[in-house]
Symmetry: C2
Subunit: 83 residues, 2 copies
């Protein structure tokens, strides 16, 4: 079966995020009171798997392969069965 997986890869909390700081200053100049802005990556993909838990395990392996363990954390945000 086919599953749609959503993964988030974000910088760890202590790591300086220049892109986030830049976005924050843009938002401040637009009068939005946004704080602690952090920018990460979202990956959407289709996976072939026998069932949802197998798809989740594959997505977990993929997150581990793509994230830099020193600076980043990843989350398997969602696994959804495709019709």
């Amino acid at each position: 079966m086919k599953y749609h997986a959503t993964l988030l890869i974000e910088l760890k909390d202590g790591i300086l995020d220049p892109q986030g700081r830049a976005v924050e200053s843009v938002l401040k100049s637009l009068q939005y009171q946004a704080e602690n802005v952090r920018v990460g990556r979202v990956l959407e993909m289709e996976l072939e798997a026998a069932n949802e838990s197998e798809a989740r395990v594959t997505a977990h392996h993929i997150g581990k392969a793509l994230a830099n363990p020193v600076m980043e954390v990843f989350v398997v945000e969602a696994i959804k069965e495709l019709a």
Copy 2:
């Protein structure tokens, strides 16, 4: 009150995504059967708002300001009250 907002900004469906293609070929070389990989941005931030729906409206405005309407779509993924 303070709210934590998560926004996703992704390329529209028809738009070619070279970064997604690159990730897809890396995953294929690692023997993962991932298809239609799309790479977008995730923004996490803290917003000051009177209530959750006001925070959601602000996050919506911010998404509109940051996404390129020609090529990108944004989703307010989550609004969470901070303790």
